[in-house]
């Protein structure tokens, strides 16, 4: 998933090259926004988290280990920031979260079919640690090894967490009549 020229861009970013940073932004803006959106189910929150993520990346290039994959680092920041955001917004009720579609554009609303909406709602009802693994596997297309790298957990734990996440998701979908 890491493009070969990421490394060069990152080297330029460390030297303070804003154009290089913008090139990374172009490359990772959409996946980061989507990961945050699937974790938060609110486009406004996802937008703010995406902004925070890139700011963190920009400010912390010095602590980035170039031997590791860049996407692992940025996805980990995205998931951590999303979970922090959820903790801060803990006072919001689940119902509020489920109706967070209000902020979506008409195009987004129109294109989110019933199944997608059901899946998204069910995702919001499972714990963030399980949601994160689903987001990485199914929405970001990460392999077990990549998920292990992002979440910094052993591959075996990735498999068990993914299995549990799917079971929980299935239970939620069954409960709401979306899955038989």
């Amino acid at each position: 998933m890491t493009k070969p020229d990421d490394r060069k861009l990152i080297e330029q970013c460390i030297k303070g090259d804003r154009r290089a940073f913008e090139a990374l932004l172009v490359q990772y803006e959409k996946p980061v926004f989507n990961a945050a959106y699937r974790m938060l189910h609110s486009p406004e929150d996802a937008r703010d988290v995406t902004q925070t993520v890139f700011l963190r990346v920009f400010e912390n290039f010095a602590s980035y280990d170039p031997s590791r994959r860049f996407f692992s680092w940025i996805y980990r920041i995205t998931l951590n920031e999303s979970i922090n955001w959820l903790e801060k917004a803990n006072c919001l009720s689940l119902v509020d979260r489920e109706t967070a579609d209000e902020g979506r554009s008409p195009e987004q609303q129109a294109s989110a079919d019933e199944t997608s909406a059901g899946i998204e709602a069910a995702l919001m009802r499972i714990k963030p640690e399980y949601r994160a693994v689903i987001v990485l596997k199914h929405l970001m297309g990460c392999s077990y090894i990549e998920i292990s790298d992002v979440l910094e957990i052993p591959e075996k734990k990735v498999k068990s967490r993914l299995f549990m996440a799917r079971q929980l998701l299935k239970d939620e979908l069954t409960r709401t009549g979306m899955h038989r």
Binding site: E29, R47, T50, K137, H138, L139, R166, K170, H179
Partner: protein, 253 residues
């Protein structure tokens, strides 16, 4: 009957495309015999397919510009635009200010602003060199429409109100700032770029036209220091894109 863990692992690995060939053969043999195994495989496959089919959303318009605008300034440039404007490279920004003011003067009718408006430009720039005189924003708005996005902040320094525009627009946008307090008058314009924004003023109103990513400031003389408000309208052609009011609570006694 409970399915053995190794089969559960293989079912998941199969769905995820991460099963080895030897394990796949064993899994297929197991599924041949186990209805429960087949049901689990089918269930998880359906859920996996539903998840894979969830569409990727496009990030909101202007998110990229918003992120770039939020990055800390480079160290050698220091601080935000207004701090920069008011700090070291005074002459550079003074030149920009003068250019903006001349541009403004060229489009402002002589009957709408007295010549005195521009008489003290030197002292104005002098005053602006003191960053300590610039307090936090008295009020600010954030705009996130499809056509224009960014922030407008209202600051006060001495007898001056400063409208700090940090915006990006896809097409040409006209911004009208109305202030009903007739003791307030337009006293200058500065922009970070050398061009790209045009400004005109008349009593009680400043009009700006911009396109693209722009950072600029409008200076309003507010000698009375009293409470006031500035109504902002953002237009594209005849279409109203956004409308907001910035409030100034008045100078502290």
């Amino acid at each position: 009957m409970t399915i053995e863990q190794k089969y559960i692992d293989w079912i998941n690995a199969d769905i995820d495309g991460e099963i080895g060939q030897a394990d796949k053969v064993k899994l297929d043999a197991f599924l041949e015999e186990s209805a429960e195994g087949r049901a689990m495989h089918a269930d998880l496959t359906r859920i996996g397919q539903s998840l894979d089919a969830v569409e990727q959303l496009q990030p909101p318009p202007f998110l990229r510009q918003r992120i770039m605008n939020s990055l800390p300034q480079e160290q050698n440039k220091g601080g935000n635009f207004l701090q920069t404007l008011l700090a070291n490279p005074v002459l550079r920004y003074a030149a920009s200010f003068v250019a903006g003011a001349f541009l403004a003067m060229s489009v402002v009718g002589s009957n709408t602003i007295s010549e005195a408006t521009f008489d003290n430009m030197g002292s104005l720039v002098g005053t602006m060199t003191d960053p300590a005189s610039l307090g936090p924003a008295a009020d600010s708005i954030e705009i996130t429409s499809n056509e224009i996005a960014g922030t407008v902040s209202l600051r006060s320094t001495g007898s001056m109100l400063v409208l700090d525009f940090d915006l990006v627009s896809g097409g040409e946008v006209e911004i009208v700032a109305n202030y009903t307090d007739r003791s307030i008058w337009f006293n200058g314009f500065a922009q970070l770029e050398s061009s790209g924004t045009s400004v005109s003023a008349e009593a009680g109103r400043v009009k700006l036209q911009m396109q693209g990513k722009r950072r600029y400031a409008v200076f309003l003389q507010n000698n009375s220091g009293r409470q006031t408000q500035i109504d902002l309208k953002f237009m594209s052609g005849n279409e109203l894109l956004h409308e907001s009011t910035l409030n100034y609570e008045g100078a502290a006694e």
